[in-house]
Subunit: 215 residues, 2 copies
């Protein structure tokens, strides 16, 4: 019974890690859809979102079943509690990638971001995807210290977002209000995606150490 | 032992409800800070955020302890699982109120929202607070159908946000890029706050019915 339990727990952790990678892939695709005005890629992100919701619903049910049938304690219990939180983060990450894909779809065939913002958003997209990948690796390795490395990348995302604000609030922003609004919101979506990746790394730290890190 | 357990579970549910009301109060205050350019009220929201984080951390610990020591099943288990999700929503609701308060503080003594947007945001603020209150009542009454009523108010919040977009993306928006960006982001914060209140009502429905509602 206990062996089955641990096999199920390991499978849950593996699935959480692979789903975290999936959100990273969704964000890569959302960035490509945005920069290349690629409608097919935007649509693929939007359908991935449906799969993600189903997967997360399934994992949520497995968490409840594990708690009900196995009454885990100590680290095992913390894994399930952390998994429930991570599922919330993963759903939000999927939503945020979908928001960017939907902007790409709505503005197609135009690219809604002005030329000087593009390299900044390209970098934010790379960092967001890399954060999701690092969060997945943190889950796989049960690495309690990964949060420090992720926080560094998250700080860079925040700095890039501030840079976009400086650009769009400068006196000589020539691209009008619509571009400014798109830029502000897309920047927010990248920033929140990165925050959720850090939150996942915090949950890994909670699992390993038993200590909750303040957000 | 079981009696103590149920007393602790009831206390947890009461605290979740009162904390949900607190986030509603924070959003009321954030709206006042924004519309009245009131620095003291803005600061009070920012300090409430710290208290909220502490309260949520404490409740999270109580959830883990209840799971570890009592191994609840069926409805009792769903209450604790739902509580863990609700804690995530409450922290986000507090953050969103704080974001609005921080914009009010940053722009003080100016009011950062143009005249024609103010009544729209005032209504969104009222709805957001009312959604938090309704979510708290749903928790107290364990009302599985409250989600329908909350969804109606949430739909109105979404419609109001679309109206702000129409206003700020119209050809004759005279208030410049900075106001447009503030308006887009503040609208987003109200909208997300409302979404989290609906998510709480969904968790109540999950507790009572055992069925997870799709987001």
């Amino acid at each position: 019974m206990r062996e089955t339990f641990h096999a199920e727990l390991d499978a849950l952790v593996d699935d959480l890690a692979s789903t975290t990678r999936l959100t990273g892939q969704m964000m890569t695709n959302a960035s490509v859809a945005l920069h290349r005005a690629n409608l097919a890629v935007a649509e693929s992100v939007i359908s991935s979102k449906q799969q993600l919701t189903t997967r997360c619903g399934d994992m949520q049910q497995r968490c409840v079943t594990l708690l009900a049938l196995q009454a885990p304690v100590a680290t095992d219990l913390r894994i399930v509690v952390a998994a429930l939180h991570v599922l919330g983060d993963l759903q939000r990450m999927g939503n945020l990638a979908e928001h960017i894909a939907k902007i790409a779809r709505m503005k197609h065939p135009a690219v809604p971001i002005p030329g000087e913002i593009r390299p900044v958003f390209a970098r934010m997209g790379v960092l967001a995807t890399s954060l999701a990948r690092d969060a997945a690796t943190a889950i796989e390795n049960r690495d309690p210290l990964s949060v420090d490395r992720l926080t560094q990348d998250d700080d860079e995302v925040d700095a890039l977002r501030r840079r976009t604000f400086q650009m769009l609030l400068s006196k000589d922003w020539p691209h009008g209000v619509q571009s400014a609004v798109d830029t502000a919101l897309i920047g927010r979506y990248y920033e929140r995606f990165a925050d959720h990746a850090v939150a996942i790394a915090r949950q890994v730290s909670f699992v390993v150490t038993g200590l909750a890190l303040q957000r």
